[in-house]
Amino acid sequence: MPEQFLFATEVVLNGLMAGVLYALVALGFVLIYKASGIFNYAQGVMALFAALTLVGIMDGQVPFSHLINAIFGTEIHHFGWHVPALLAILLTIGVMVVLAWAVQRFIFRHLVNQEPILLFMATIGLAYFLEGVGDLMWGSDIKKLDVGLPQGINDWIDVTTFEAFGYGFFIDNLDISATIVAIILVGALIAFSQYTKQGRALRAVADDHQAALSVGISLNFIWILVWSIAGFVALVAGIMWGAKSGVQFSLSLIALKALPVLMLGGFTSIPGAIVGGLIIGVGEKLFEFLIGPMVGGATENWFAYVLALIFLVFRPQGLFGEKIIERV
């Protein structure tokens, strides 16, 4: 088989894996937008906050220790225990649920019936607030995140493809884990929305707020629920991205990777987020592989947006988004 074809195949496979990671971030945006019409600018920071909280709990770090020490002159940093990853994840989910309640109770409850742009501005404020609180709670140093996920080249794929084609493909074990987790997550989300009472209520709210209210569905509860689920998705994204780079404040920038995915897949579709992520992942990697060397490389950041814009021109609602029809 021609060498270039093998390389391109490897690039496509890695693009698909990268796309899954982008889709994980995009999912959080979709969930909140679908249920409440809010474009949650804070989704990236939520991933950061969740990952910081997870590492902090795992390492037994005392939250707000710098503040406590500065005020009381103490030297407290750690509780002296180490929490197993699974328990720490459960505790972090608890924290994200509390955060969802607080966001609803203290921000969005007061902004009911306001213009979408105001809700968007509120999420910008929330993003900066969360970033500051995360810093204050857990410190700003880089933290190693190890929840036991395997990392590095998958030897089986490397050996098998080498024996078959004379060239061993590189696939990162972490990317494989992310793909499996994403499949389970999407399956669980679909099952939740189709087969549970709360899920059906959530879909009803997404379809029509007024109608949902009229049949006795609590908007408050649904919004807390959806922010909690988005918080959980943010935690999953934070774990996957944090395992690659360590948990640090740049983690919030992964939101930038989700924007072209949303533009392409639509803001209201879970399958759209997945397919959009895969298209962006493969598209940007292939472009970098084929065209990058001719134009000096580093094309991925801007090409993802160009690709999304092309789709946007022909299908403004995105691939899977709902077509907006306004009657006058």
């Binding site: 140093d141 990392q151 590095g152 780079s245 640090q248 920038l253 940007e284």
Partner: protein, 425 residues
């Protein structure tokens, strides 16, 4: 009367304060590059605190630090400069090549020196064209040359036919060494492959797939912030031999390697300051700064690469102040006097010892013609087991024979563009 009082108060507020020595610190404690920015800023602040607490300042005048958060953002950096220059700033340490490029014309016009220590515009080494800019103890071109020299040593003196990839942050900073490496590739016969990574560098799969296909003999690395951690992790993922992966001095600190765990073992970088706290000065910092509750951070980054580098930058500024005070016979100096002090700065090993930092950095001797100092650095290697950087070479000199003509040419082009007549006034 009220108006007169207000006007007087405004004039007093706007005037440079001459009762102290002002050092603006353009720091970044937030954002994607905070992991390097925080310990540097802490080291920079703690050294001045030490001088104030232990010695009563420099020459009897207290040092005053004004910290301004840039987030490693060039626009914010310029805003910080504009906001603090009226405070009587003696020297700016922009801590970003992008900010440095923006400040060079402004600071030159305002008559305030810039010390871009081991970063910034390389040709600012030519003091005849850039009288207000200093980049001692070395430049990016020195770093690139030292990496090549190290590779030459490792390969028995020849790099002919070898493949070297430059993996770089796609910015002014990352592009800085390209010119030198191109010249050195012609001289030594190695193939240079350029591999840019867009900022911030969280996703580098494409670049590392290319590395895996090309199998370069060495990777020279110009990263910063999250790009460093991701690159080192990706190198470990593809099982690239880490001893062939060499970072510039801004890609070789503890936060860069720790997230990759054992995978980072063997990774190398250049450095121009000592690491660890095994220097007498640190006992004083512990006593007068940390134990007194005056440390800028929590005291846990003492001895780390970036902390020590920030401390070194402050020490160089303080030593330049002493030279300026001596040159001009006054203790309260202004920015122009500070520039004179920087241009006459000389630090020998005996000086380092008397400062409590024996063997901490290369000897420095600045002249009008040479604002970059000795251009020396050593190569260090990460030992994951002990979680320590270990020097694997002595201080090495760069190939100034190759670099100097490039500096001259670039400085001459700048002088022509800006109507500057190079001179030593």
């Amino acid at each position: 009367m009220k108006l007169l009082t207000m006007a007087t108060a405004a004039i007093v507020a706007a005037s440079p304060v001459m009762a102290d020595l002002v050092f603006p610190s353009l720091s970044y404690r937030t954002g994607p590059f905070a992991s390097g920015g925080i310990p540097f800023a802490d080291g920079y602040a703690d050294y001045f605190t030490l001088l104030n607490e232990r010695d009563g300042g420099i020459g009897g005048v207290e040092a005053r630090l004004i910290e301004c958060e840039t987030g490693y953002n060039t626009e914010k950096g310029v805003e910080c400069y504009e906001a603090t220059k009226g405070e009587g700033a003696l020297v700016y340490q922009p801590l970003s090549t992008g900010i440095t490029y923006q400040l060079i014309p402004r600071a030159s016009a305002d008559g305030i020196p810039i010390h871009s220590m081991g970063y910034g515009r390389t040709s600012a080494a030519d003091g005849t064209t850039f009288p207000w800019v200093f980049n001692y103890p070395g430049t990016y071109w020195d770093a690139a040359s030292i990496m090549v020299n190290h590779a030459l040593d490792e390969e028995g003196g020849s790099l002919d036919g070898k493949k070297i990839t430059l993996l770089f942050h796609n910015s002014a900073y990352g592009k800085e060494p390209i010119r030198t490496l191109e010249a050195l590739s012609k001289k030594h016969g190695f193939d240079l492959n350029l591999l840019p990574v867009d900022s911030p560098g969280q996703e580098q799969k494409s670049q590392w797939l290319q590395v895996r296909r090309d199998k370069p003999d060495y990777i020279f690395f110009w990263g910063w912030g999250v790009m460093n951690q991701v690159a080192i992790q990706e190198a470990a993922n593809i099982r690239y031999p880490m001893e062939k992966f060499i970072g510039v001095w801004w890609s070789g600190a503890e936060p860069d390697v720790i997230p990759a765990g054992d995978g980072a073992d063997g990774y190398k970088s250049t450095n121009f300051t000592g690491t660890g706290t095994d220097f007498p000065l640190f006992a004083d910092i512990q006593e007068y700064v940390v134990d007194a509750g005056l440390a800028a951070g929590d005291g846990q980054s003492l001895g780390q690469v970036q902390y020590n580098r920030g401390l070194f930058a402050a020490m160089l500024a303080a030593e330049a102040v002493k030279v300026a005070q001596e040159l001009h016979g006054v203790t309260e100096i202004d920015a122009a006097m500070m520039r004179d002090g920087m241009e006459a700065l000389s630090i020998t090993e005996a000086d380092y010892s008397s400062l409590g930092l024996p063997g901490f950095a290369p000897e420095i001797n600045i002249t009008c013609e040479n604002h970059s100092g000795p251009g020396m650095a050593f190569v260090q290697q990460w030992d994951a087991a002990s979680q320590q950087w270990k020097p694997v070479t002595d201080y090495m000199t760069s190939d100034r024979e190759t670099i100097q003509p490039l500096i001259k040419a670039d400085a001459a082009a700048f002088a022509t563009e800006n109507g500057i007549t190079p001179s030593c006034s």
